[in-house]
Amino acid sequence: MTEIRYIKAVNQALWDAMEADPSVFLIGEDIGAAGGSFKATRDLLDRFGPERVYDTPISEAAIAGMAVGAALTGMRPVAEIMFMDFTTLTMDMLVNQAAKARSMFGGQGSVPMVLRTPHGGGLNAGPQHSQCLEAWFAHVPGLKVVCPANPADAYGLLRAAIDDPDPVIVVENKALYAMKGDLPDAPEARERIEIGKGRIVRPGHDATVVAYGAAVTMAEAAAANLAGEGIDVEVIDLRSLQPWDEGLVLESLSRTHNLVVAHEAVEAFGIGAEIAARMADIGFDELDGPITRVGAPFAPSPFGKTLEDAYRPNAERIEAALRRTLA
């Protein structure tokens, strides 16, 4: 085992996937000699050359659209969009084209493309470089969405996404890029993580917090705080947002009877809303209290430090939500 950072796990996944399959190639802005604006693609140009690592002009729609066309022509493109905010410029290609090609062509083919992009605040990057827009993509039939919360998952979910026959949006969290974790030294020992499956990070029997991305660590901290009071909280890392592990969440709810959903994205109309709605339906008889949500307030993500700190969810807010559910 070697301890590596989240961003290096992304880099290793790209490296291993490109070694394993010559049809995998990279396309994005500044991903070549510069190694990507967060260095996810460092050294890949040197190893694989300019015919596998395409440094593009600042043309996000073309990047996403070319990934669709290359995927329909036998390749496995992995596109990088520098900040999730910039995926707004790719929407036609992802929503109208990538997501629908298989269905609207009657299953003639698939679109095996991956689009990696970082979301999230904590860097004072301001309103156009911090947004968490994953719920938009999870709302579109035909797309898959994953959001790794640690280095091992960053590796395993990206490998699974590249193997997947359908378009997958891999949402990385830029505040987690420096997070450390273990990855096996032998390439064959590095595991893929099945898309659609969540993970119980911490077992508990009083309440369940379902979280993903940066909110997982926050939920663990909230659970640790409440443990001191004898409140035993189960934390689930969703890992995959579309499809999401409904069975795991329902099973947990049937043991804890209380549910909180936490994410960094704006609370209103978010992933949490879908989970709460589904559990209020299929898990209604299991509920002992209201399902509460923790997310960002309904405002653009602000720039200034005090404002951004107040804007982002944290362990205290998850703790407060747990108390409200348990009250």
Partner: protein, 319 residues
């Protein structure tokens, strides 16, 4: 051009014309669900371009895509069935007129979004270049798409990376319901110059001219990948869609289109090349029979089952 070649191209053009006329009638009879955008008057463009392409070459198209699709050699019955929304359609009745595709023929789909085929085809050309098999990609778009941002992104990247792609502009002068000259501050020739790209302009209603230009542009691209633009001046006879009364168009303009009818011009060229009148009549009879058989089969085909609504949204896991 040899008589047999010209006769073959004429046959393909007539097939598109008769297919669309049949669809026009089916639409008027209420048999075609949704919208229908006909390319009557533009048949020489896809037939000429496709004469330079193989099944392994890829194309993508737009909302006015019946000609592009048929010229790529897709199954005629599957084509009719798709537009009628039948289970036996090329896309199992899920796409319809604006989304007909046949990946086995390199037809990556008609498209309901103006300009969307451009980045898809540019990506397909990138794949061809990486695969080194000498295949090329061609994208059909109208003059209205010149105002879309992705066109400029794609011309730039195709030139920067020397991608084997033919940009085929069908310039019929109309951007949906508005004359394009009131929408564009430039033109495609100037854009081609701005991107230092090989550019040719042809009378898109003269089949021999389109075929010759396409052949000249595509041939070298197979060995030395590089993009090129083929601008085809052509004529949209019908409205933006069926049911459009075209009261925004001058009656004289529409009447004058008859003289430039590509089918008529091709028939005249055939006669000039020495074709006997019964050759032309024979082609017409064959095409009519083929269309009738396909349309009848499509009409008789079953509708998709409502239970299949979730099928093909995702690729099934391998078992």
């Amino acid at each position: 051009m040899k008589l047999t070649e010209l006769a073959d191209l004429y046959r393909r053009m007539l097939l598109i014309r008769r297919a669309e006329e049949r669809l026009q009638k089916l639409f008027a009879d209420g048999q075609v669900p949704g919208f229908l955008h006909l390319s009557i008057g533009q048949e020489a463009v896809p037939v000429g371009v496709s004469s330079a392409l193989s099944d392994r070459d890829t194309v993508s198209s737009n909302h006015r895509g019946h000609g592009h699709t048929l010229a790529k050699g897709v199954d005629l019955t599957g084509f009719f069935a798709e537009i009628l929304g039948k289970a036996t359609g090329l896309c199992k009745g899920r796409g319809g007129s604006m989304h007909v595709a046949d990946l086995s023929k390199g037809m990556l789909g008609a498209n309901g979004i103006v300009g969307a085929g451009l980045p898809i085809t540019t990506g397909s050309a990138l794949a061809h270049k990486m695969q080194r098999q000498g295949h090329v990609a061609a994208v059909y778009f109208g003059d209205g798409a010149l105002a879309e941002g992705v066109l400029h992104e794609c011309l730039n990247i195709a030139k920067l990376w020397s991608l084997p792609i033919l940009f085929v502009c069908e310039n019929n002068g109309w951007s949906e319901f508005s004359p394009t000259d009131r929408q564009l501050a430039t033109n495609l020739e100037k854009l081609g110059k701005a991107f230092a790209m090989k550019y040719r302009s042809v009378d898109g209603n003269v089949i021999a001219d389109v075929a010759a230009a396409a052949g000249k542009l595509v041939g070298p691209m197979r060995r030395y990948p590089a993009p090129a633009i083929l601008e085809c001046r052509t004529t949209r006879v019908r409205g933006h869609y069926e049911g459009d009364r075209q009261d925004y168009r001058d009656a004289g303009e529409i009447a004058a289109l008859e003289a430039r009818d590509p089918i008529r011009l091709a028939a005249e060229a055939l006669a000039e090349a020495g074709a006997a009148p019964d050759l032309i009549a024979g082609i017409a009879a064959e095409v009519d029979a083929e269309i009738e058989a396909a349309a009848e089969a499509a009409l008789a085909a079953p509708l998709p089952k409502s239970a299949d609504i979730l099928a093909d949204v995702y690729t099934p896991a391998e078992v």
